[in-house]
């Protein structure tokens, strides 16, 4: 395998990893605050739909992004209501949100555009296009580094770069700010946070809202960033669950989340190029095995055979103030 092919695979790795990463960080905020969220999938899906729909109607990818974030946040608020205000079962709420998204996107898309549950093809202005970073062309002659810069680092949509920047940002917010300290504390021991006179409810709602916003960007990336050109039915295709798997894999830490998502993104990129694996290792690997691998790996991690994944202690428990 030559360098260029490798770079192409890595390039699609980055593209595939981006929605996973954004959803994974979304889940990280929520779960670190003690709110389990298996509704990442649904939030991404509504965001993907509304982003594509608004982008196609207005012709602006940015308005689409805003709409996508808005749609995702609405579902996040429903999840917040169910799991914080009404102290319901967070898992059941997540399941409901995923179904709601799977159904409502097709129902609305069908009545709005009448194209069998998809949005119209997006034109160039209505989607996020690849950005060629400065000097990418002029430096492409430099051996090794030149092609790496041109093929791998340059030429992604703005949302990919945003996602990469959100990783250090998440780290900084969680570990270097007072808000982050409170957020982590509320996921471990909400009673202590409450005793310190800080509102558990407000903290958890802000975590859930951040989660909604990030899922919104993830969805918009799926549907409106090149090479995607619109929404198709069920287009998240389990990415929300892979992001959840990545979150466990990363043991709820931002930098590890980046690693895990790149790994899972790599597996997805390989799935697109089955010929490559055969060429490199000489054996035909089943595509189904590759698609199942993130889930199998997560089960192994969860089983505690490779390091132990310990979730935030108060995760999934509604907080009841003293009676």
């Amino acid at each position: 395998m030559d360098l260029l092919t490798l770079l192409q695979v890595l390039d699609s790795t980055v593209r595939m990893a981006t929605p996973l990463l954004l959803a994974c960080l979304a889940g990280l905020f929520s779960e670190r605050a003690g709110i389990f969220d298996i509704g990442l999938e649904g939030k991404m899906l509504v965001a993907a739909f509304l982003a594509a729909a608004i982008a196609s109607v207005t012709g602006s990818a940015w308005l689409g992004l805003l709409a996508g974030i808005g749609a995702s946040i609405v579902l996040a608020i429903v999840h917040g209501l169910a799991s914080i205000t009404f102290r319901g079962n967070q898992l059941i709420s997540g399941v409901a949100i995923n179904f709601f998204a799977a159904g409502i996107t097709v129902v609305v898309a069908q009545s709005w555009f009448g194209q069998g549950g998809r949005t119209p093809q997006l034109g160039d202005g209505a989607r996020f296009q690849s950005i060629t970073l400065p000097f990418a062309e002029s430096l492409s002659g430099v051996p090794l580094l030149g092609p790496i810069f041109k093929e791998l680092i340059s030429g992604h949509s703005i949302l990919v770069y945003m996602a990469m920047l959100i990783v250090p940002l998440t780290w900084w917010v969680l570990y270097q700010t007072r808000f982050g300290l409170h957020l982590r504390a509320v996921g471990e021991n909400p009673a202590a946070v409450d005793t310190a006179g800080i509102s558990v409810v407000r903290l958890r709602y802000s975590a859930v809202l951040i989660c909604g916003a990030l899922c919104g960007i993830a969805g918009a990336q799926l549907a409106t960033a090149e090479p995607a050109a619109g929404f198709i039915k069920d287009m998240t295709a389990g990415r929300g669950y892979i992001a959840l798997a990545a979150l466990i894999f990363a043991k709820w830490r931002p930098w590890y989340a980046l690693m895990a998502c790149l790994l899972f993104g790599f597996l997805q990129a390989l799935e697109l190029r089955p010929d490559l694996i055969t060429n490199v290792i000489g054996i035909k690997v089943q595509g189904q095995l590759l698609s199942a691998l993130p889930y199998i790996m997560t089960v192994v991690i969860l089983a505690g055979f490779v390091g132990k994944a310990i979730p935030p202690r108060a995760g999934g428990e509604p907080y009841v103030k003293e009676r």
Partner: protein, 371 residues
């Protein structure tokens, strides 16, 4: 602590939740420019208006009884089995293997064999998540979700590469032998002059499902194991203190749950398709969650809720046929039911409780009514 009367808990709250879900569904239908009332009428006619319609409604209901019972049994031990979908897929594999590779002399024996195969495969698929929960503390919800995806990949692999007969394009097994075809409602209820349930897929499995309801009821409320299961569900620490083995309860409840989900396959794989196809489960594993929530995890409740969802499913299909409301509308309704009866339960419960207590307080002014 004060409590609401029991009838309010098991009847009033689900009904109010259901009405809320219906209102929101009506809003969605209005928003896409259709008439909700006409939609309801069409659904009733399409799902209950003829024996053909009933044949479909009961067929779907049969699936949902199995998956609903599966979720309900696990709920009693406070396990959330979200893997019904994968377990039902594997159950389908079990049924297919039993039907294809064993030469059964009669359908009744084949039905027993297929039930055992379906239950074993379904239980086996639940066994690993259950073991990991019991022994390693891995969260059952996450592992069962992962196992759904693994099951899907496994089934695609098997159907495409192993089980597909040579020369066929579609990833599916060959047809099961004619001899072991299960009697459909048409065979059972038609008389010489009138043919009932013409062309509908409801079959004898419906009665197996009803029997399963009775067995689960006996198991949960009439056996020592059921008692231990419920005790564990109420309080793990108290159950441990009483000498109940948590590993055993987690394993047993999940195995029963997986077996029930797997047994759905005798309806859809053996009774309807008569071969194993991809995506045979069609989301019934997830609907089991809604059914168990609505039915308050009681077999009779599950039975009623499964009928309701069978009605919604068949009615929804009719809607998609005759109006511009897509089939996915059912998924929206299902989501709203899960949301209101499951996640937002307290939103309905709290105001109702307040209402009851304020009504009770007035007569309670006389000292006799102390609780």
């Amino acid at each position: 602590m004060e409590k609401m009367p029991k009838w309010a808990d098991i009847f009033l709250i689900p009904v109010v939740s259901l009405i809320l879900a219906a209102i929101f569904s009506a809003i969605v239908i209005l928003a896409i420019g259709e008439d909700p009332w006409a939609a309801v009428k069409l659904m009733v006619k399409g799902a209950l208006g003829s024996t053909y319609a009933w044949g479909y409604t009961l067929y779907y209901a049969t699936n949902f009884i199995f998956t609903g019972l599966a979720v309900a049994v696990a709920f009693h031990a406070r396990m959330f089995n979200i893997g019904g979908e994968g377990q039902a897929m594997l159950g389908g594999l079990g049924v297919a293997l039993v039907c294809l590779y064993i030469p059964w002399p009669h359908w009744s024996l084949a039905l027993i064999g297929a039930s055992v195969g379906a239950a074993l495969f379904g239980a086996a698929w639940a066994a690993i998540p259950a073991f990991l929960q019991a022994k390693r503390g891995s969260h059952i919800v996450i592992t069962t979700i992962m196992f759904n995806f693994i099951a899907n990949a496994l089934l695609v692999y098997l159907l495409v590469n192993v089980l597909k007969p040579v020369g066929m394009m579609e990833p599916a097994t060959s047809k099961f032998p004619k001899l072991i075809q299960l009697p459909s409602f048409r065979d059972m209820f038609s008389t010489a002059d009138t043919i009932m349930f013409r062309g509908a897929p409801a079959n004898i499995t419906f009665f197996v499902a009803v029997a399963a309801c009775v067995v689960v009821w006996l198991l949960i409320w009439r056996t020592r194991l059921g008692y231990e299961l419920r005790a564990f569900g109420h309080s793990e620490s108290a159950a441990k203190y009483a000498g109940i083995n948590p590993t055993k309860i987690i394993m047993v409840s999940m195995l029963i749950s997986g077996a029930l989900a797997g047994m759905m396959a005798i309806n859809n794989v053996m009774g309807e398709a008569e071969r194993l196809v991809l995506n045979a489960v069609e989301g019934a594993g997830f609907i089991g969650i809604a059914v168990a929530l609505m039915g308050r995890s009681h077999p009779f409740g599950v039975f009623l809720a499964a009928l309701l969802f069978g009605f919604l499913y068949q009615g929804g299909a009719e809607l998609a046929l005759w109006t511009s409301i897509p089939r996915e509308m059912i998924v929206v309704i299902q989501a709203l039911v899960i949301l209101f009866t499951g996640a937002l339960d307290n939103m309905v419960r709290m105001p109702l409780e307040k209402l009851f207590f304020s009504l009770r307080r007035k007569p309670a002014a006389k000292p006799a009514a102390a609780e």
